[in-house]
Point group: C2
Chain length 154, copies 2
């Protein structure tokens, strides 16, 4: 249950009710299932809807895949989660959990390592400016093979 919203405030189902008061979005009701999904997501960064569904099932929670997709989409809209498209699937990651950080994605197993680097942060802005880009989203990804996959090719 250690999810943070961008301004570093810890989020719970209660603070959530404040957070998602976004335009054209009606007020949320409290929901046990959403609580459960939030708790599971909090302990597993970079998960797919299917993975969440599986781990919840293992714990004996029957929550439909559809609900998980809907809930994760909601979390993204609230700024709690961030969707990433890896291969053909959508992975959901935590946002702002540890300040600005980027991802190192293993092209073999799909695992993701996080890193922070001030210099690259500066270059990022520089390169974006040179190309007329606005850095709305903080997202920089590096691809390679992680230590486990680096030996065997594939």
């Amino acid at each position: 249950m250690d999810i943070y919203i961008p301004d570093q405030e810890k989020i719970t189902m209660r603070t959530m009710n404040v957070a998602k008061m976004s335009p054209n979005r009606s007020r949320l009701k409290h929901s046990k299932k959403r609580d459960i999904i939030l708790a599971a997501f909090a302990t597993q960064n970079h998960v797919t809807a299917q993975k969440l569904h599986n781990s919840l099932a293992e714990e004996g929670h029957r929550i439909s895949l559809g609900t998980i997709y809907r809930t994760m989409r909601l979390f993204c809209k609230m700024g709690l989660a961030q969707a990433r498209h890896c291969e053909a699937k959508t992975q959901y990651g935590h946002t702002a959990a540890k300040g600005r950080h980027d991802h190192l994605v293993c092209t073999a197993c799909g695992n993701i390592a996080e890193f922070e680097n001030q210099e690259i942060e500066r270059l990022r802005k520089e390169i974006a400016a040179e190309n007329g880009f606005t850095l709305s989203v903080h997202k920089l990804e590096l691809y390679g093979l992680c230590s486990l996959c680096g030996h065997s090719d594939n």
Copy 2:
């Protein structure tokens, strides 16, 4: 028809017959359709199968989508093209056309700008090493809004 394979040799259907002598892959036959797809791909970097299909249709070429998918997958295997997953679609880009370069992807319209930066190249290696990653594939992506999309949000 200006596609280059990694070792900088210009590729044509003829040189292709040499290039794709890969293991467990039988010898390719010459095919007009593949020639046409190659020519179209050469003039349009970062295209989806659907876009290629459309532009070919406009030129009066009737080539099925299935064939385009199969052919682009072949090009990737041969090192002629590189697949990238943007949103839910697969985009095919040229490989090694202009040496090492990275991508700046517009999160609104999907357009891709290419850039080269020596410093980031160095950092890339540094960061990968720090995290135990092997940089098999050269791929680094930055996300933001391009100059056209930067003003209107989304």
